[in-house]
Amino acid sequence: MAVNQISLRGELGWDFPPRPRPKPKKGKKPSSPPQISQLQATASGAGLSGTLPLILVPFWNPTAGLFLINYFDTTNFDCEEDASYYFRMEEAQDKSVTIHKMILTYNNLGQASLTAGITYYSRDTDQYYTASKNIKIGTKIPDFKQHKTAIDLVVTGESPQIFITRKANSGPVSIIRLTIAGHTGEGELV
């Protein structure tokens, strides 16, 4: 089989065999891998070729009136849609709890904005409430290491449930651990 060295190899930042990246000159930013826009079909026939496979997705965008052949770019986790994650609703034997601290441990994939919040229940009003905080995580140049950030939210109520939401195109988010701290209520159940 004729092996055409598809530009995808360089686009994803690695080569066969691995070559050392040129050291950036002083005062200049290090060069980033070539962008995925250089992807091209280079087969001697008519299809995609190279060493890196893809998932091709037949797609219809009715708003734009377009039919498309899409793919998922696994080098880019800045999802183009809103994302959300709700943790388990916690219980303290039907007592009220106060949560006063959250520590988020994340993998630094780059700058991202997200919202961390808590929904909680008030038996007095028989309603649910939400408290949230917008936070920014990550650095402009990702180091792919674990970082931590504290989220200072103080809420008191029953059945607290933590959530993380992120707007579309707000950067890549990778959560490794979330720790919450607080106190349960005093006395007997009333």
Partner: protein, 388 residues
Amino acid sequence: MADQGKNGKSDSYFEIVYEQPFNGLHTTLPANAIERNNSPTFSNFTLRNGELRTRPRMLTLYPFPQAYGIPLGVATFVDAQNNIHTVVVSQYGIYQLTSGLLRNTPNAWQRVYAFTEAPNITAPISFKVSLNKLYITFASNRLYQWDGLVTPTVVSQVDNTPTYAGSYFLGELAFRLIMLNTVEGKTPQSITSFPSRIRWSASGNPTHWNPSSDIGAGFDDMIDVPDSITGFAAPGQNGLVFRSNGISEMIPLAGGTIPFEWNHMWASENGIGNVYPFSIANYGPLSAFLSIDNAYSISMGGLKDIGGKVIDTLYKDIENAAGAPVATILSAFSQSYPYTCWFISIPLQGQAVNYSKNWLYNFHNDSWETWVENSGIITGKPAFVPTA
């Protein structure tokens, strides 16, 4: 959550840690009754490698011209001259990708063949690659063969009338191409459906389907079971014929006029079977399907219930589907991102436009997640294209 405090009262400090393994959605229990590492609802996060990570971004590789129709399926094969062909099938014809184009180039597709009849777009397009040729059928009385070199041809004449056949499902077993749940007739306009019929080609020759002229070709109507064929998988030496209320093993014999026998795992009127033809997917020895009561995987180890934690929500989405859902098993999303998952895409009606809610089942950690794409719907099975 509460421990004895220092004063002996129940006021106490607590910490709760949420960390891996994140075990995905659990929607069949109340939100305070699930395990800590489950979630009652989430979307567009993926659970790979012990992280909650936003899912990969979906990008356009190439547009598909509106005049060419709706892309219903993608396939790839290598022809006898070692040329690679990436093919899209729409209701109007077969198209292949032009070589040497940058991403997002318009008019990247050239028509190879124009259909004289439109595929039934609520039935899955079936592809099979055999001996450097691509075979395509889509529930009309046509089985197309394309060798990548000359114009595609119809190769499924089944008697001397001549009558032609196509099918809903295509498989390969014991050197024979297999058509299941066939559609037969002299012309595309006068067809008869045979939902229990299985046809096989001559051994080693997928263009010979006429038992009158080739003793190796033949067919069988599974009249000893009450239901119709809804899928096929070939996990190993034997094939699995999925029916709406059961599964039958298709066992190759030594040859002769009857090269197969069938072992019905169960032949009752009610039983575990594949009720949604679009849902069946297989990858090596692993197959997954949706029965009336649950989602199952079937492998060498037997049948396994995999839908328990999400089945209500999943089936509610299927009930509300605005079009034909599609499903496939993906082994990886790229070379650096292996992720064996059953990918079920369900089009749902949005406020303004239809959108896709994609359910992914991760076979490694037995977890479910959802990826939502609000810009539109997936119109055919995603295909893993090994580019070398």
